[in-house]
């Protein structure tokens, strides 16, 4: 039962990331929808831990890159080194060759280094020295970044933000969670001993199940109405792209799977909308809106068909 497996995964993750059920679930939905995830938050709220937990639970081969401003593309994708024995260049794969790549503080790197990673995300392959190497299957990037108003950062442009299916933030834990966190064991220890929840092949069956969640014509009407309103309706100066529409549907399917349903409801779409649309929409007016306010503005303007 794919939905039972999904439930097991969320429960296990929530035991470590305390008080962040919704964010954990969104992150899991993002992966089940085969999308890349961007976590945006201040340091120390558990971004990296979340990535670690997901890798462990899903049994994915994990790599981590700490982005810095002096980083070069070769530091990510790999480099060709001259081999004296056969007198030729050999390609040494970089850390990008992993199933789950944690790109920590991606906005610290220069645009050049950022774009090397983002290209890999889109194509799921790496081209270097005139040759192409396929990345492992599956391939996910979980990138974290500090909010762009901090010093010494290179904010991602819209075109690159669009490659992330979701952008979420974790925020401070509430009082009870904070207490449990302070009183409990070291999270790092817990992650290190976290058992893999999935049997081989189970992850693929989850992907498969998410892809086959039923989407009825009435729901497509609704998604289309949302997209149309974001483009032409009052209140938005930048609307959702067709890619965003596809992503929204995929994310809603994964969300329905996590909810144990075999069909997508408008509620599923509305639930993932802040994470999927928050970094793609722009509202009219001078004050920038947060993802939740943006999504609420869109949702409340479009009646259910």
């Amino acid at each position: 039962m794919p939905s039972r497996i999904a439930r097991r995964l969320t429960d296990a993750a929530s035991r470590i990331i305390l008080g962040k059920d919704h964010a954990v679930r969104l992150a899991l939905a993002c992966i089940l929808a085969r999308g890349h995830l961007l976590i945006e938050d201040i340091p120390g709220v558990g971004k990296t831990t979340l990535a670690h937990v997901l890798a462990r639970l899903l049994g994915l081969q994990f790599q981590r890159i700490q982005f810095t401003s002096d980083m070069l593309p070769a530091d990510i994708i790999g480099v060709s080194v001259f081999d004296q024995r056969d007198a030729s260049f050999r390609f040494h794969p970089g850390p990008a060759f992993a199933q789950l790549l944690l790109a920590d503080e991606i906005n610290r790197a220069t645009p050049k280094a950022q774009s090397a990673l983002l290209e890999a995300m889109e194509e799921r392959q790496i081209s270097a020295e005139g040759q192409t190497w396929r990345l492992p299957e599956p391939f996910f990037v979980i990138a974290t970044q500090n909010p762009a108003d901090q010093i010494g950062t290179f904010p991602l442009p819209e075109s690159q933000l669009d490659r992330f299916l979701m952008r979420i933030s974790l925020g401070y834990p509430d009082r009870a969670a904070e207490r449990a966190l302070l009183a409990g064991e070291d999270r790092r220890e817990l992650v290190a001993h976290l058992p893999t929840e999935l049997q081989p092949g189970e992850l693929d069956s989850l992907f498969e199940a998410a892809r086959h969640i039923h989407v009825g014509p009435r729901l497509l009407d609704y998604v289309q109405a949302l997209l149309e309103h974001s483009r032409a309706g009052a209140g938005f100066s930048l609307g959702l792209s067709p890619r965003a529409g596809l992503g929204l549907l995929a994310a809603a399917r994964a969300w329905a799977l996590l909810g144990g349903r075999d069909h997508v409801l408008p509620e599923d779409v509305q639930a993932v909308l802040p994470a999927v649309a928050g970094h793609r929409l722009r509202a009219t007016g001078d004050t920038p809106l947060g993802p939740d306010a943006l999504a609420r503005r869109l949702v409340e303007a479009v009646p259910l068909p």
């Binding site: 039923h214 009825g216 032409a232 069909h263 409801l265 408008p266 949702v299 409340e300 479009v302 009646p303």
Partner: protein, 645 residues
């Protein structure tokens, strides 16, 4: 305030241009040019996305428009200056319009200007142009209301709206209580441009009327139309002659004919174009009819000047003997000749009287004399001297029908036979498309009437003596110089005539059924619907009822379209309606599960069973399609029984 989108301004400009363009036919050219310039300027601003002109400049321009109107009309009151002012102001308004509110005001003004076209003309072309303007204005309102959209779907939506208004328009047109004549007083310049006969006649007057191809009236006969020789339509009867001009004598009026109709009856429907006069141009001799006035000169008259197209059901009795017992004063008047005029014609008259044994033979002798004199029938006779009858009969020998009629009457009077001139129309043309007889201004005619003992007044048409084809074939057949005729009355362009016939037929039905829809027709319609009492109260009630039916039908249709079509949605809507009535409405964007969840938190007592219904609905509505029938039945059952507290 948000500024208008480019497509909104485009619609606004198109609507205003389509509204103002038909006005160009009557606005002074300077005003039309000014409006066009302002519209083009606004279009240019829209195209370039540049700024609107400064308010100060607009004030100067507005003063310019007002000045131009003042310069053209010397006043602001009246139809013409009023419309000109509004046209200028509408164009100016667009130059300061950059907000929804201003745009709506401009659309409102456009609607008014579309109505204003009907102050000038009410024909079908004007109606079509007004409709086009209305269509564009509705498109503008849609553009102002909604988001940007391509032209075609927006135009289709506007057309759909117009179409939906059609039933309501029909009800209001057919049933709104009608009054005879216009509802409001028109300014004094309203009837200045009406053409037709007048009630005096000088040489050349009829010829001048004949140069117009405008329609004077139409007649639709029941059965065969009468032969051309019977088609004499009586206008002013002129008895007094002062040597130059002819005027009507004193006449008595009553609401019964001055004769007893007899002989063959020819019923017909007369549709008279407005000519701002009392006479009704009935064919000789009209039988009794209600509400009309009869003159002792056998004219049919109306109580009010004919200022709107008038539709009359009449019967003509061409063979009726009239004036058998004529008033001696009238006869004296019909024998009077001004002293010192036309000595040669008077001599001719006395000569004829001597030649004829009896008075009854004199007219025939005179006609023979006319024919022998070889008088020429022409629209452009040579100029005449002071004694114009003399110089026509003996010198120039060229004349139009009024010369023939005047000369004949003077000759008769000189011979001691009472005679007078009758003006009106003769002939007309059958439109092969719809069979109506169309009589134009070019059919204007003058003929004579003589009075003989025991025979009464008899019609004599001296024109027929010299140009018999005028009577049988109309003006075009009788005249040698075709070129001076109005283009549409010429007989040498058959395709043009065929086209004209077709257009006339369409116009005629428009006049009959749209413009001619008067109180009488309205009453006939209401009576035919089975309502005996046709006072304005019952009409109003009928109209209100019909409006309610139409609006109800449209509302039902809209609701059916808006409301979810199938049973699942109807059941769910019912659940939501009941909850809303209980004080817990669903947000339009709220999904079923969220709604149930919210109510479970906010008002758990309201609907404990809602969660189940909502889950069933979600599954049925959004789940894979062949949902099992047990689920469907459970959902319908529970939603029907559902009663929130």
């Amino acid at each position: 305030m948000p500024s208008l989108r480019r497509d909104q301004v485009g619609w606004l400009l198109a609507g205003s241009a389509l509204t103002l363009a038909p006005h160009a036919s009557h606005l002074p050219p300077a005003i039309s040019a000014l409006c066009a310039l302002l519209l083009v300027w606004r279009g240019f601003i829209n195209q370039r996305g540049s700024r609107l002109p400064h308010r100060g400049l607009l004030v100067v321009l507005a003063a310019g428009v007002v000045g131009a109107v003042l310069l053209e009309f010397h006043q602001f009151f009246g139809k013409e200056p009023g419309i000109a002012l509004l046209a200028g102001l509408l164009s100016l308004k667009l130059l300061e319009t950059d907000s929804l509110r201003d745009a709506r005001a401009a659309v409102l003004l456009s609607f008014f200007m579309q109505l204003g076209q009907f102050l000038y003309q009410q024909n079908m072309a004007i109606a079509a142009l007004a409709l086009l303007g209305t269509f564009a204005s509705i498109g503008t309102l849609l553009a102002l209301q909604g988001r940007a959209e391509a032209f075609a779907p927006r135009a289709a939506a506007a057309a759909r709206l117009l179409l939906q208004a059609l039933p309501l328009m029909l009800v209001l047109f057919l049933l709104f209580p009608r009054v005879q004549g216009p509802l409001w007083g028109l300014p004094a310049d309203a009837y200045s441009a009406v053409s037709g006969l007048s009630d005096d006649m000088r040489p050349g007057d009829i010829a001048r009327v004949s140069e117009s191809a405008a329609i004077a009236f139409r007649a639709a006969f029941e059965g065969d139309p009468p032969p051309p020789a019977e088609r004499y339509w009586r206008g002013p009867v002129l008895t007094r002659f002062d040597g130059r001009s002819w005027r009507p004598g004193p006449s008595r009026r009553q609401d019964q004919p001055f004769y007893r109709s007899s002989g063959i009856a020819r019923p017909y429907t007369l549709t008279l174009e407005p000519h701002n006069q009392h006479w009704l141009l009935a064919m000789d001799f009209p039988g009794p009819a209600d509400g009309l006035v009869y003159g002792d000169d056998f004219r049919l008259l109306s109580r009010e000047p004919v200022r709107n197209r008038l539709r009359l059901e009449l019967v003509a009795h061409p063979a009726t003997p009239v004036g058998l017992a004529e008033d001696p004063r009238t006869l004296r008047e019909a024998l009077a000749l001004p002293p010192g005029f036309n000595p040669r014609t008077r001599a001719l008259g006395e000569q004829l009287r001597a030649a004829a044994g009896r008075a009854d033979d004199i007219p025939a002798l005179a006609i023979r004399h006319f024919r022998d004199s070889r008088l020429a029938y022409t629209l452009a006779p040579a100029p005449l001297s002071r004694n114009d009858v003399d110089s026509f009969l003996f010198d120039t020998k060229q004349g139009f029908c009024e010369h023939f009629a005047a000369a004949f009457v003077v000759t008769m009077r000189a011979a001691g036979v009472p005679a007078r001139v009758v003006t009106g129309y003769q002939g007309g043309e059958i439109n092969p498309v719809d069979g109506t007889l169309v009589v134009r201004q070019s059919d204007a005619h003058a003929w004579a009437e003589v009075w003989l003992e025991a025979r009464g007044w008899l019609r004599v048409d001296p024109t027929a003596a010299s140009a018999p084809r005028r009577i049988d074939g109309g003006l075009a057949a009788a005249l040698p110089d075709m070129a001076r005729l109005p283009l549409l009355a010429r007989s040498d362009l058959p395709w043009l005539r065929a086209l004209r016939d077709r257009v006339d037929a369409v116009n005629n039905s428009w006049n009959q059924w749209v413009l001619g829809y008067n109180p009488a027709r309205q009453q006939a319609l209401v009576a035919s619907l089975g309502f005996g009492d046709t006072g304005w109260q019952s009409l109003t009630a009928l109209m209100a009822g019909s409006c309610a039916v139409v609006m109800g039908g449209l509302t039902l249709w809209a609701l059916r379209r808006m409301r979810p079509g199938d049973a699942i949605d109807r059941s769910w809507s019912r659940v939501c309606r009941r909850l809303a009535a209980a004080g817990h409405p669903r947000h339009a964007w709220e999904g079923p599960l969220d709604y149930a969840g919210r109510l479970a938190r906010e008002a758990p007592e309201a609907a404990p069973e809602l969660a189940l219904i909502a889950a069933d609905y979600a599954r049925l509505r959004y789940g894979p399609t062949p949902a099992d029938t047990a689920l469907l039945q459970r959902f319908h059952h529970s939603s029907r029984k559902f009663r929130p507290r």
